[in-house]
């Protein structure tokens, strides 16, 4: 086991080496390519300031652009491998399971594109060996990924805690933690079966950052989706962007990307998870980004009325209960200024997965086994009507902030 503190000094050179390509890039971001994700580091604008080793922080193996490398080559390699197995499960095993589903339907005289209720689809498919092998392989990858990251964090708990403690009170930007925050039950689940969820483990931010990097199968290691989203979000018609709020900011990826796009704006990121915003603050400090992170509820932000020019979120609402969603939309209306924009980025409600047998089964296992507690209700909750009822003018046609995601461009009437 490598002592993270002892190797810090040894590899400071490696850290600056890894960051060097970023430092030399143009600071002004370019527009994202039309209709696609930013997939590679070369496509991304350089951060306004290269990440550095702030006193008290750790980067034992340096950085890979925006992301700090995992602290040991063996852990990094195991995570890489699990990501490849995830890719295999998605790319090869899932279609194989889909073919089995079609064969099962055919044996019953049912056309493969027939839509059916979820319970019927589950009963038809859940005992098929191929379908279950795919689910099992995916589940094993998910569990192993979390296990690897959790063990790393907890084996080195003191070092990781000390690193966060060293910058809790340090700028740029601020960190506000509210240990006594009364959290609605819907926020306390182990979403994606992440150990402790977003609130119950001191290393939730560390685990989320590297764990979800695996979810994206390598396509987001430079926050490519968040950068694309930040640069794709609309601005108010009057062009004024002085204050921005990212709800459910998690580890602050969208908030940091927004700060890169709007360096003069006051950017806030709030999240119910104290460990999440604590980690977000650490990363923002290392990047030299002046962002305010706070542990607050999206339905009770404690900001003044009409305060923000842009209120946004990235894949938060599908993790929220129906009541929580209503409260959040109303709160967003209250704090958005007249003429300002509320644009929650999330799964596309206009074009949901087809309700075929395998589509329904996949939706169910994501809910049941990935512990996506609220996703099914998110799709049937009538979010568009909630947004309109709150008072927003809703445009579902554009602009597309993030390709393949929903368009929820809501303006508060001036």
């Amino acid at each position: 086991m490598i002592n993270r503190r002892s190797v810090m000094g040894l590899f400071a050179g490696a850290a600056s080496l890894a960051a060097a390509p970023f430092a030399s890039r143009a600071a002004q971001p370019a527009a994202p390519p039309a209709g696609g994700f930013w997939r590679t580091r070369a496509d991304l604008p350089a951060p306004p300031k290269a990440p550095e080793n702030v006193p008290g922080t750790l980067a034992p193996r340096g950085r890979n652009g925006r992301m700090e490398r995992l602290p040991e080559i063996d852990l990094e390699s195991r995570m890489d491998f699990l990501m490849s197995v995830r890719t295999y499960a998605n790319r090869t095993m899932s279609p194989a399971a889909g073919r089995r589903a079609a064969a099962i339907l055919a044996s019953k005289g049912i056309a493969p594109d027939t839509e059916m209720p979820m319970q019927e689809a589950i009963a038809m498919l859940e005992n098929d060996p191929m379908v279950q092998a795919r689910t099992r392989a995916w589940m094993s990858v998910q569990q192993l990924s979390w296990d690897n990251l959790k063990k790393e964090c907890e084996d080195n708990a003191d070092a990781y805690l000390s690193e966060m403690e060293a910058v809790d009170q340090r700028g740029p930007g601020t960190l506000e933690l509210n240990p006594g925050l009364k959290m609605p039950d819907y926020t306390r689940h182990e979403i994606h079966i992440q150990p402790g969820g977003y609130v119950g483990n001191d290393f939730a931010g560390h685990m989320y950052d590297y764990g979800t990097n695996g979810f994206y199968t390598g396509n987001n290691e430079q926050d490519a989706l968040h950068m694309t989203a930040a640069f794709g979000l609309p601005v108010p018609a009057d062009g004024k962007i002085k204050r921005i709020l990212d709800l459910g900011t998690g580890v602050g990826q969208l908030a940091m990307a927004l700060k890169e796009r709007f360096p003069e704006a006051e950017v806030w990121g709030i999240d119910v998870g104290g460990p999440m915003v604590r980690y977000a603050h650490l990363r923002a400090v290392e990047r030299g980004l002046d962002i305010n992170f706070a542990q607050r509820l999206a339905e009770d932000t404690r900001f003044p009325d009409n305060h923000f020019d842009l209120v946004t979120s990235y894949i938060m609402l599908h993790e929220v209960s129906p009541q929580g969603t209503r409260d959040i939309v109303n709160e967003a209306y209250r704090i958005t200024r007249p003429g300002g924009i509320f644009y929650p980025i999330d799964f596309d409600l206009r074009n949901p997965f087809p309700s075929t047998a395998y589509g329904q089964y996949r939706r169910w296992w994501d809910h049941r086994w990935n512990n996506e507690v609220w996703t099914i209700k998110y799709r049937t909750n009538g979010l568009q009507d909630l947004v309109r009822s709150a008072g927003f003018d809703l445009n579902e046609e554009g602009p597309v902030a993030l390709p393949r995601f929903g368009v929820m461009n809501a303006t508060k009437p001036a």
């Binding site: 190797v7 890489d80 890719t87 959790k150 001191d202």
Partner: protein
């Protein structure tokens, strides 16, 4: 809280545990366990292979490979791409049987009459 951090340093809060930890999908719980074992073993083998690649590279370029040098090694973009391709090929080579059509699978000898 799911981690063992002393209370005065912890910022974690009570959470609602998922009930998926012991989920069983296959006919026998040990088959589920074995799926996890073979994927975990694959990750361990890849970690060794990855380390070997770094050692070989360092020996070629530096003439030595210490633990510190191995941990600090930063691959080029071309190396990263090549490693990813090789890793994916290994996954497909090792696990492809998991995607074979099992619709006609049955115990060997089931149709034999003696």
């Amino acid at each position: 809280m799911s981690n063992k951090v002393e209370a005065e340093r912890s910022k974690a809060a009570p959470f609602i545990p998922a009930d998926t930890g012991s989920a069983i999908f296959l006919d026998n719980p040990h088959l589920d366990n074995l799926m996890t074992v073979v994927i975990a073993l694959g990750a361990e083998i890849w970690a060794d292979r990855q380390r070997m690649k770094v050692v070989e590279r360092l020996l070629e370029t530096e003439g030595k490979a210490t633990t510190e040098m191995i941990e600090a090694y930063v691959p080029t973009d071309a190396e990263k791409k090549a490693w990813e391709t090789e890793r994916m090929a290994m996954v497909e080579r090792v696990y492809s049987v998991l995607s074979r059509d099992t619709s006609n699978a049955r115990p060997f000898g089931e149709e034999r009459q003696f």
